[in-house]
Amino acid sequence: MITADPHDLAGAYAADALTGEERETFLRHVADCPDCATETALQQEAAAWLALAAARTSPPGLRERVLAEAARTPQLPPTLPAQAGERRRRRSTPRLVHLALAASLAAAAALGGLAAWQHQEARQTRQEAASQAADFARLLAAPDTAFVKKDLSYGGSGTVAVSRRLNQAAYFCRGLTPLPADKIYQLWYVAPGNKVRSAGLLRAESTLQAVSLPPPDTAAALAVTVEPSTGSAKPTTDPLTTWLLPTA
């Protein structure tokens, strides 16, 4: 049920009048439409007033419970550094991993071979992606970089590129199975002793995706789980796939 003018959906979205699938469709549109992103932010400001107007004194005792729970709950990591560039270009709702052209080229390299990448690299003209491209290029060119590829049982394939020397890693995938709007893929580093830390969030895209991962440090494996759309502090579901990372 998509209207001719997706701009009109910003109001329905901000008022939470859309249902799951339409919401998801609209969010996909917003990610690529700066006008709608701005419009949505403004509509949400107006909607927030409606909540403020409904304020009531909150129940006694709730404050203490919430503060105590927060005190023992870890916070989520900030979003991936790779997203910073994207945020500068478009002012939009938190949108995770969709990287620019350079990243796709890097993904092509990991999935399809370096030659294809080098060929395309020559045609790479997008200035804004240059630093990301440089990061990926450095990783792809490092002599010790290992590529660990797996076909994913739930659809698509994923490759981890890791260089112990650079302490740098990236994740490339394509054809991930789309998730409902309230779910997201989350990547995790697993270090010896089963120490798990988040390595970032991943929305399913139909195209190639490339994600700059945080420094792997001592991580021995990368895992992916399905989590609520805001991500989790710790995995709440079993890993769908695990990649064992080569040691130094």
Partner: protein
């Protein structure tokens, strides 16, 4: 209920809530306590209004505040005000919860039809009951009825645009564009929230 105040309404200035949330993002529990004082009232209030169930609203408020704590490191001051960010989370959770309840009772159809009439009468009442923010009430009243009805039904009663279209006998596209126009006018009337 005791005299209602809008906790956080007015006594924390715009940029202050934004700054508080940034401190929360850095892990400050002290800032989180102050942020709770600013946001819990509106969060609980909107949850009560959408859910019509104080106990569920209390649960939702707790979930939302915890999500605010956990997700604070992902808040970007440049992409909107802290208050907007928190109210967006709160409203979405409240609506999600009421829809789940309606569905799980397997009477979605019946409920939405029942509510069509109820909701319709409620629009006026809902607007009148907004005691906390005189300004919001007067801006809502300034809207024409055709713009006010959809936005009140969606925001305060958690109806989907399909349900609103049925309640008001309007085409879907009209509901969508009226929601947008209503919010645009409200924003012009009110400005950015704190």
């Amino acid at each position: 209920m005791a005299k209602r105040q809008a906790p956080g309404a007015g006594h924390i200035r715009t940029s202050e809530t934004d700054r508080l949330l940034v401190s929360v993002a850095a892990g400050s529990q002290d800032a989180f306590a102050r942020l709770y004082d600013a946001a819990a009232g509106p969060i609980y209030g909107i949850a009560c209004r959408v859910l019509q169930d104080p106990a569920r609203a209390e649960e939702v408020t707790q979930e939302v505040m915890l999500e605010v704590w956990q997700s604070a490191p992902r808040y970007r001051p440049e992409s909107g005000h802290a208050m907007t960010w928190m109210m967006t989370i709160a409203h979405h959770r409240a609506v999600d919860s009421v829809r789940t309840l309606r569905r799980s009772a397997e009477r979605e159809r019946a409920v939405s039809q029942h509510e069509s009439t109820l909701a319709f009468d409620d629009v006026v009442e809902t607007v009148e009951a907004l005691g906390e923010r005189e300004q919001v009430r007067s801006c809502l009243k300034e809207l024409t009825a055709e713009l006010r009805q959809p936005v009140v039904l969606a925001y305060y009663q958690g109806l989907t645009h399909t349900e609103i279209a049925a309640a008001l006998s309007l085409p879907l596209g009209t509901v969508k564009s009226r929601l947008r126009r209503a919010l645009t006018r409200l924003r012009h009337c009110l400005g950015a929230p704190p």
